[in-house]
């Protein structure tokens, strides 16, 4: 299939960027979206132009490296997948495709389609852990039964890949879904309950410092999340945060 691409090009963080047109021919419908970009880059390199920089690594939807706003949607038109899992069969011959970086104040562009998501790491560093040393001298793993339903819910929250689609999609560029996923995972497990309050307070505080917006419960994040992280988690975060504010705040 032949396609017209409109790709965001930006030399570095300080220079202004713009959409640039590229025509690309003979794309296999079985190739992935990123393989289509590989093909474009091969053509650009062989013709002496600068290839398009984009983040990617595992190419199987789990590392969270790939991002991209494709035709105005985070990770493109399909649901519950990342851009690397998007295949060209989702498009038609002759289509025009807009490719832009994830945009948010807390995700500054580094180059072209590559953005800086280190704000996510800093939120995790503020409280996304259980304070237990890795000595191995803990109690036996089966000493504390955990109801399967709680363990499953904790797992569902823990599957967040930290890609930032929730932020990019949100009209407020809020990171609530991301933060709530980690807070929920731990607050659902007995091991995490001990520090639940300080965790919620610290992570929300860091989220605010990083310049993410507030949550107005529009729910776009849940729709675009490639891992289907549920809005329920935001409700749980609100509960944890409010409770913590009253007793500790």
């Amino acid at each position: 299939m032949d396609l017209n691409l409109k790709v965001w090009r930006q030399k570095n963080a300080t220079e202004k960027g713009a959409l640039k047109d590229y025509a690309i021919k003979e794309v296999s419908p079985d190739s992935s979206f990123l393989e289509m970009l590989d093909l474009l880059n091969d053509q650009l390199i062989e013709s002496g132009e600068d290839p398009v920089a984009f983040d990617h690594d595992c190419r199987e939807g789990i590392c969270g490296s790939c991002s991209l706003y494709v035709n105005g949607e985070a990770h493109g038109p399909s649901r519950a997948i990342t851009t690397c899992q998007l295949h060209m069969r989702s498009f038609k011959d002759g289509d025009t495709i807009y490719i832009e970086p994830f945009r948010a104040k807390a995700f500054p562009v580094i180059k072209d389609l590559v953005v800086d998501r280190s704000s996510f790491d800093r939120i995790q560093q503020a409280g996304g852990f259980i304070s237990v040393n890795t000595s191995g001298n803990t109690q036996d793993a089966n000493a504390l039964p955990i109801p399967k339903a709680d363990a499953d819910k904790a797992f569902d929250a823990a599957t967040c890949i930290g890609c930032g689609a929730c932020v990019a999609t949100c009209k407020n560029a809020s990171a609530m879904l991301f933060v709530s996923a980690k807070v929920s995972q731990f607050s659902l497990l007995p091991q995490g309950k001990v520090e639940a309050k300080s965790r919620a307070l610290n992570m929300v505080h860091q989220m605010d410092l990083e310049g993410f917006g507030n949550c107005t419960n529009t729910g776009a994040c849940e729709v675009e999340c490639p891992k289907g992280i549920s809005l329920e988690n935001i409700a749980r975060l609100n509960r944890e945060f409010l409770g913590a504010t009253i007793t500790e705040g």
Partner: protein, 667 residues
């Protein structure tokens, strides 16, 4: 040459580790604060090592090329992690895990290391649960287990098909706690481009900031290489796009021996390749073999009709299907080890029974499991007159709860619904058992330089069993290196900070800059990928699932030729002082082009079949791998001398005192 001392402690195998821990140095907490440790790579091995060393009080600097430590490729491990907990009461034990791992590795691993791995395995599960890893549980609230290939017990702990993700995020959270306290300094989007050796000891690294392009010097008292495997030498593999051998190869060039490079795991259950555009291959977890049955059409004409689209797999009657693993290996069936399953698939496809358009695929069928689980679930739910459709529905829901994300992944890539039609799978490069040679302390032949996880060679012999990689990565990082590193660092407490303005740092930086400028200066005609793909094709065709002397000799010459052309004709746009992904790739492929040659040489030298290394010259009448213990019961540790295939071979003889060497059989 006394360097190949494995430092294996004396005494009975089940006492070695305890005794060793008693004998090694301990550094007092105040002194630990004076010692810098560099960790390269933040997968399971690197992240767990960085976190634990920081908790102990060492000053840690951790480096990863990704934009966050959480993205290291351990994240993609699917099926599970082994531990000898014996929660199922199926007669598992430390000894059985040790035995299975040594046998699974086809008797080419170091006994003492494997025993230690089995010994600490149970602790890993305790640790991970304590740090909030949400493993799968049964309704009673206790941890669930499943089976993996090559063993007869259920010892694998899992979190759906995302076990690696959950374990890595656990280690990442432990790291985050230390980063938050300032005990780990984290360097994202940084790549190590050389190790600096001063007076024979590893004293730091040269790294490139991938965003600014700035070359940086970092001094330390010890350097830990936790940079994973080198499967991407095949271009197509299940590794991440950025996975590379550079850190391991650079230390090799500075004196670290590289062991058994030819031991590669070709994983049997990967999604088959679809065309030339393909940039990587995707694994379907081995755990699927718990419930999936592997087959090809029994008649060639049916296989042919399926390939041309005239026949659907679901049309074939039971008697027209060849469940070849169940036929050939009745006692292990679909759960034979990976090397055996891969070769059996290749054998059927080479014989003309393969499916998919390419003829390079076999079926992995869940139909029987869906019906079985459906019946069970109907009974549990009290439905006694369930229709066939209801049973399927219930059965599919059970399969979904076990493997949902894998089925979804498959459907997205292949565009077929695996609940309704069998999956197609084919072997692909997945893991490298070979790696940097290390002693019992995980130290390489460069004092002060260690290698952990997939980057080292020690635990999996010639074939790794499923769910053992996660176990090894975390064992090395959480429970081995924190003890063994003390033995070396105990003598470093008076050294003081390592200066980075020494002539050695000057020289290393100059070399790094020189290589970057040289690469940029070539301005030839072809992209880096062009050369990488050519290398991959030679590796797959001649150094892949079946190898012979003629092919290996050709491969060595062809790889040399591709390397020569690469250095004359590669085209890298842009400059070195900006984010330049092509320049990063070029450096990695340059190293693969050297490693590939040594890899082929190692495969040539080892004129026996063992585990994943199959020499056509050495097989049984039934086509099974035939070891030659008399001549090849050793670790091949290669010393770099300039030309990769001219490396000097050092042998570490393998001693098996606690396990009897036998022809491996899964029949």
């Amino acid at each position: 040459m006394a360097v190949l001392d494995s430092k294996t402690p004396a005494g009975p195998i089940d006492k070695k580790w305890t005794q060793h821990k008693n004998d090694i140095n301990v550094v007092n907490p105040a002194n630990k604060r004076l010692i810098d440790v560099i960790v390269v790579g933040t997968g399971l091995a690197g992240a767990s090592a960085a976190a634990t060393l920081a908790e102990l009080g060492y000053k840690v600097k951790a480096f990863c090329y990704q934009d966050s430590p959480r993205r290291a490729h351990s994240i993609a491990a699917q099926g599970g992690i082994n531990a000898a907990k014996n929660y199922q009461g199926d007669n598992d034990s430390t000894y059985r895990l040790f035995y299975d791992t040594v046998k699974g590795g086809d008797y080419r691993s170091r006994e003492s290391n494997v025993y230690r791995l089995a010994e600490v395995s149970a602790n890993i599960i305790d640790q991970c649960v304590a740090q909030g890893v949400p493993f799968a549980r049964e309704y009673g609230g206790l941890l669930d287990n499943r089976s993996f290939g090559g063993v007869l017990v259920s010892r694998t702990f899992y979190a759906k098909g995302q076990t690696g993700q959950q374990l890595l995020l656990g280690a990442y959270s432990a790291m985050n706690r230390q980063i938050g306290m300032g005990r780990i300094e984290q360097f994202n989007r940084h790549e190590m481009l050389d190790v600096v050796v001063v007076d024979g000891k590893a004293r730091g690294i040269i790294a490139r900031d991938l965003v600014s392009g700035k070359i940086e010097r970092h001094g330390a008292h010890a350097v830990l290489i936790c940079s994973g495997g080198y499967g991407n030498v095949f271009f197509l593999s299940t590794n991440a796009m950025g996975s590379n051998v550079t850190a391991a190869w650079k230390i090799h060039k500075r004196g670290a021996y590289f062991a058994n490079p030819c031991y590669t795991q070709i994983h049997p259950t990967c999604i088959p390749r679809s065309g030339e555009h393909q940039s990587k291959l995707t694994l379907m977890s081995e755990s699927l073999r718990n419930d999936g049955r592997i087959w090809v059409p029994a008649k060639k004409e049916d296989a042919e009709a399926i390939r041309t689209g005239k026949l659907k797999p679901t049309d074939l009657k039971e008697e027209d299907r060849d469940y070849y693993l169940e036929r050939r290996y009745p006692s292990f069936g679909n759960l034979v080890p990976r090397d055996v399953a891969s070769r059996a698939a290749k054998e059927r496809c080479d014989a003309g029974f393969g499916v998919n358009k390419t003829g390079e695929a076999v079926y992995l069928d869940f139909d029987a499991a869906i019906t079985r689980y459906g019946h069970e679930k109907a009974l549990v739910d009290g439905i006694h007159d369930a229709s066939e459709q209801k049973i399927r529905e219930l059965g599919e829901a059970v399969i979904e709860s076990k493997y949902g994300n894998l089925f979804q992944m498959y459907e997205k890539i292949v565009d077929q619904n695996p609940y309704k039609t069998p999956m197609m799978i084919y072997p692909a490069v997945h893991y490298t058992m070979g790696g940097v040679w290390v002693d019992y302390n995980l130290m390489t032949t460069i004092p002060g330089c260690y290698a952990l996880g997939e980057a080292n060679f020690s635990d999996h012999g010639a074939n790794r069993l499923g769910a053992s990689a996660l176990m090894q990565g975390l064992a090395d990082g959480y429970f081995v290196i924190p003890y063994t590193i003390g033995d070396y660092l105990g003598d470093e407490i008076r050294t003081g900070p390592i200066p980075t303005d020494s002539p050695e740092f000057d020289a290393a930086e100059k070399e790094v800059t020189g290589q970057l400028n040289k690469l940029l200066g070539i301005q030839g005609k072809h992209s880096v990928d062009h050369f990488h793909k050519r290398l991959g094709k030679v590796m797959w065709d001649k150094v892949g699932m079946a190898r012979n002397a003629k092919g290996l000799n050709e491969a060595i010459e062809e790889i040399k030729q591709i390397r020569k052309e690469f250095w004359e004709d590669v085209r890298i746009p842009g400059s070195s002082n900006e984010l330049n992904p092509e320049l990063e790739k070029a450096g990695r492929v340059a190293d693969f082009l050297e490693l590939g040659e040594l890899f082929a040489r190692d495969a040539l030298e080892r004129n026996e079949s063992c585990g994943g290394h199959f020499r056509e010259e050495s097989q049984t009448e039934e086509g099974e791998a035939l070891r030659d213990d008399k001549n090849f019961s050793y670790v091949a540790a290669w010393e770099y001398t300039g030309e990769p295939s001219k490396a000097i071979l050092h042998k570490e003889e393998l001693e098996f005192k606690d396990i009897e060497l036998k022809q491996r059989s899964y029949k």
